[in-house]
Amino acid sequence: MSQNYALVGLVLLPLVGSALVFALGEAQAKLAKQLTLLVSLAAAVYAIVLCFEFDTGSGASRFQFSASWNWIRAFGVHIAFGVDGIALVLVTMAVVLVPAVVLASWTSFDSRSGSEEGPTPYGRRRSVKNYFALLLLLEFFMIGVFTATDVFLFYVFFEAMLVPMYFIIGSFGGPRRQYAAMKFFLYSLVGGLLMLASVIGLFVTTGSRSFALTDLIGKVPDGATQKWLFLGFFIAFAIKAPLIPFHTWLPDAGAEAPAGGAALLVGVLDKVGTFGFLRYCLPLFPAASRYFAPTILILSVIGILYAGFLAIGQRDMKRLVAYTSVAHFGFIGLGIFAFTTQGGTGAVLYMVNHGLSTGALFLVVGLLIARGKSRNVDDYGGAAKVTPILAGLFLLAGLSALALPGMSTFISEFLVLVGTFTRHKGLAVLATTGIVLAAIYVLYLYQRTFQGVMSERVAKFRDVNVREILAVAPLIALIIGLGFYPKPVLDIINPAVKATLTDVHQTDPAPKLGTAHGGTK
């Protein structure tokens, strides 16, 4: 088997970068930042080049840039990497987000303050280089988790990813960071262990001596076993995604993590859950996926509405954004388990867009919090007068979150709703009301912070500087660009979604032309 090293290079790049940054001294914080930025930009360019190299032709193989080595022969485990269209766009989204996060948190830990929100009772200096080294380590695991084509290797990345995020929340987060870090870790670990049970079960029931994904697809016998194995994977991913009712860790973790960490947590890490549905649950357990789909669809719709209402009621800005994400994951779940090409493609595009838009929203909220030293909405008001550019960026990021036409999020939301409508009309109609809720929570947030009577706290704000604009503007530009011309991304996604639906033995329902008149069937 010929090995393609292109992808391996992308995987290893941040790992090497992380090791270098860790090795730096505490006094070389500036160098650490520059090195991190350089590595993350290089990775972003690298991934974009890979996107252009990716063969989207009809005869192209599903997994490209593949490379595989034996790792643990006793368990049939490989170090195997490869991407299909879904993984590729998600990897690209992740590595594009990282430089933005690096730029946005450039000075977050320079002061002697306890956190971004100002001094804690034990204000102390955080290790700046450790933060950036952890970011790169996290980037390594994120790329690994999307590109692994061996179930065991995926599991390893899935679990190991927790460790850097745990330290980012626990060491650099807000006042309740210990609680949030612990809750985040335990929730994910419980899910991970259930998945481990299924991974072992997969190995035993298929009788396959290999964990390579392609060796396992279609091997799991239908029946009760498949349902149990499906549930193991599903719960792990549902916690990660997070889907109602497994979501309660996200508002805590999202609120306590530093803004940059939160952007990656919600923007990328949570996508691993929805990515896992598509990559593992559907192809490995087709019958069980069909069996559980109605339940999951209903949970998704509940999530859209419930989290939307909760978001409206939040006073903590970061919690608010976290809840909007729970609502958005409902849409993604809907798109995936509707089993239509439009729904699936929409869901994947949604993941990319949501990563960019929520990432941008978290970063902008972080910029505001860094100025006001408070997460509480009530402490702000009328900020648009002193910080017009920040207000503009905030509004654009917010509008992308509510899926305004012209933004790429609109296209994905539309595709998901159309894809759902062809199969489940009632659910699609209910989900559509989620758009109204989104408009309320975004605009209400904007109104309370940037419009109205200017609060004392806000009067001394300075507007964004060039670095901060450079962090957020490219993300917003990308959202708008893809909003008008999504074709290149859709071209990459489409074949992979079709292949996934074939694995789950589903094809799009044929257009039923006569049904309105009580048609044939």
């Binding site: 022969r73 368990f75 679990e159 927790l162 060491s171 670990l189 049970a197």
Partner: protein, 518 residues
């Protein structure tokens, strides 16, 4: 008496042939122990420490090499009483390496006043002599030969196919341990309590073990495991003798392995013993005891698995539950690690249930990974100190990551391994064991995973404290370890990380070793 008759008599006694060559590791360790006793008596006090160190380390290294040379041997000797087979050699090798690391921890001289071991264990606690003792820099070195005697017992214990021999090995390994538990330099009262408690309960366990042997002899007319196995197929005696005998036998070994419901001594004894001795008990004793459990169940009771498997299930669940749940309520690190070892014993039993070749090799691998992480974790405990010796209360560890990032990082790696996070040895061990057991005991595996999640909470709590909490006023200091502790800790952490990333060679070794000669 005619010469003819003499010859006849000689034939009927029939001295068993001994394969000395296959038993060299045991002879070397026993020889080193005896040499240590001689050195203790003959050498002047000032030279004993160095001499004992040379004898212990030299003896263990030589024994380790002997085990390596025996690699591939599969024979039973002394009329099938001892089986030198793959599993036996793997266990012996593991015990020897772990014992070597324990010796290094015991030999530490720069952390405490001179040594973690008291010079005179019999002095009444609280007496003027006792106060004098705590300040004196006198050291005694009997602990080295004691440790070697215990190791020799541990080397015989898992390779005995004869229950009487197994009992002798059990006593040879236990008696020195009872003494060693009472040798702590600090907290004398607690240490003496630990020794007494261990001795009394251990004596009970030994009695159960013996009673079990007696019942099995009544059933099979033999104390050889292979004869008992045959008898269980053919004998027409009441099988209650067989099962009661097995049950009592198991009480004895489960006690030694610290498995619930025979675990109650573990937290107290682990806490009271000198920490290097605790490290030795938690790693080597457990390996040896599990070796014996494997041998008894796989060689002697292979065909009666239907009858004992539910019991092992129950015991495994109890052990995991006790270890995971009670561990949550502990505030002392030594006790937390004690409960962690109880939980791990439950996980290992999950592998024992498999009753396949995979089951054996996964248990062997798990024991190895567990031994190294646990031993090194206890080693780390010796470094965090305040005026009263080791600072093992949880609150004293808060903010450790800021005072000594290296120590905190080492501890984190070890705790992550115990919690079973991927890329550490502990994860590979758990995976191997659960995979082996899945096809016969899927519900048990799922329960084991749930308990892993619960136990992960207290490992993480320590990590949280070390890195995210603020250090207390007048918190403990971090001692700079001497060369011996440094070597032991480095090795333990290296093994934990390397086996997490490239486990294949050792997995191969364990898989080849998955053989028990009946």
């Amino acid at each position: 008496v005619s010469p003819l008759l003499l010859a006849d008599g000689a034939q009927t006694i029939n001295a068993p042939s001994v394969s000395y060559h296959a038993l060299t590791p045991i002879f070397i360790v026993l020889g080193a122990a005896l040499l240590g006793v001689l050195a203790e008596g003959l050498l002047p006090r000032s030279e004993r420490y160095a001499a004992q160190l040379v004898i212990s380390i030299g003896g263990l290294v030589a024994a380790g090499i002997a085990v390596g040379l025996l690699h591939g041997t599969n024979e039973s000797t002394i009329s099938n009483a001892l089986a030198v087979d793959g599993a036996g050699l793997f266990l012996q090798g593991t015990i020897i390496v772990l014992a070597l690391m324990s010796v290094l921890l015991v030999a530490e001289r720069s952390v405490d006043v001179v040594s973690p071991i008291v010079a005179s264990a019999a002095v009444v606690v609280g007496s003027p002599a006792d106060r004098e003792l705590s300040r004196s820099s006198r050291i005694q070195t009997e602990i080295f030969p004691l440790l070697l005697f215990a190791v020799s017992g541990m080397l015989i214990f898992p390779i005995s196919n004869n229950l009487i021999l197994m009992f002798v090995a059990l006593e040879v390994l236990s008696l020195p341990l009872y003494l060693m538990a009472g040798l702590s330099r600090r907290r004398r009262l607690q240490s003496q309590e630990a020794a007494l408690k261990y001795f009394l309960l251990g004596a009970f366990a030994s009695a159960f073990f013996l009673y079990g042997i007696a019942l099995l002899y009544g059933y099979a007319n033999s104390v050889d495991l292979d004869v008992i196995l045959n008898a269980s197929r053919t004998s027409n005696k009441p099988s209650v003798l067989l099962y009661l005998g097995l049950a009592l036998l198991l009480v004895g070994v489960l006690f030694k392995a610290g498995i619930a419901p025979f675990h109650s001594w573990t937290p107290d004894v682990y806490q009271g013993s000198p920490t290097p001795v605790t490290a030795f008990m938690a790693s080597c004793t457990k390996v040896a005891a599990f070796g014996a459990i494997l041998r008894v169940l796989y060689v002697g009771f292979n065909t009666t698995a239907w009858n004992w498997r539910p019991i092992i299930w129950a015991v495994a669940i109890a052990s995991m539950a006790v270890g995971a749940i009670f561990g949550l309520t502990q505030t002392d690190l030594k006790r937390i690690l004690a409960y962690s070892s109880i939980a791990h014993a439950g996980f290992i039993l999950v592998g024992v249930v498999a009753l396949t070749k995979d089951g054996i090799s996964s248990v062997l691998f798990y024991l190895l990974t567990y031994g190294f992480s646990t031993l090194a974790a206890f080693g780390v405990l010796t470094l965090v100190r305040d005026a009263n010796g080791e600072a093992t209360h949880l609150s004293q560890w808060s903010g450790l990551g800021r005072k000594s990032p290296t120590v905190a990082l080492v501890m984190t790696v070890l705790l992550m391994s115990m919690a079973g996070i991927p890329l550490t040895a502990g994860f590979v061990g758990k995976f191997a064991v659960f995979r082996a057991a899945y096809h016969v005991a899927a519900p048990l595996v799922v329960m084991a995973l749930v308990f892993s999640a619960i136990a992960a909470f207290y490992y993480l709590r320590i990590v949280v404290l070390m890195f995210f909490a603020e250090p207390p006023e007048n918190g403990p200091t971090i001692a700079i370890p001497g060369w011996s502790t440094s070597v032991a800790l480095t090795f333990g952490v290296l093994v934990t990380v390397v086996l997490g990333i490239v486990p294949q060679p050792i997995l191969d070794l364990a898989s080849k070793a998955g053989k028990l000669v009946g």
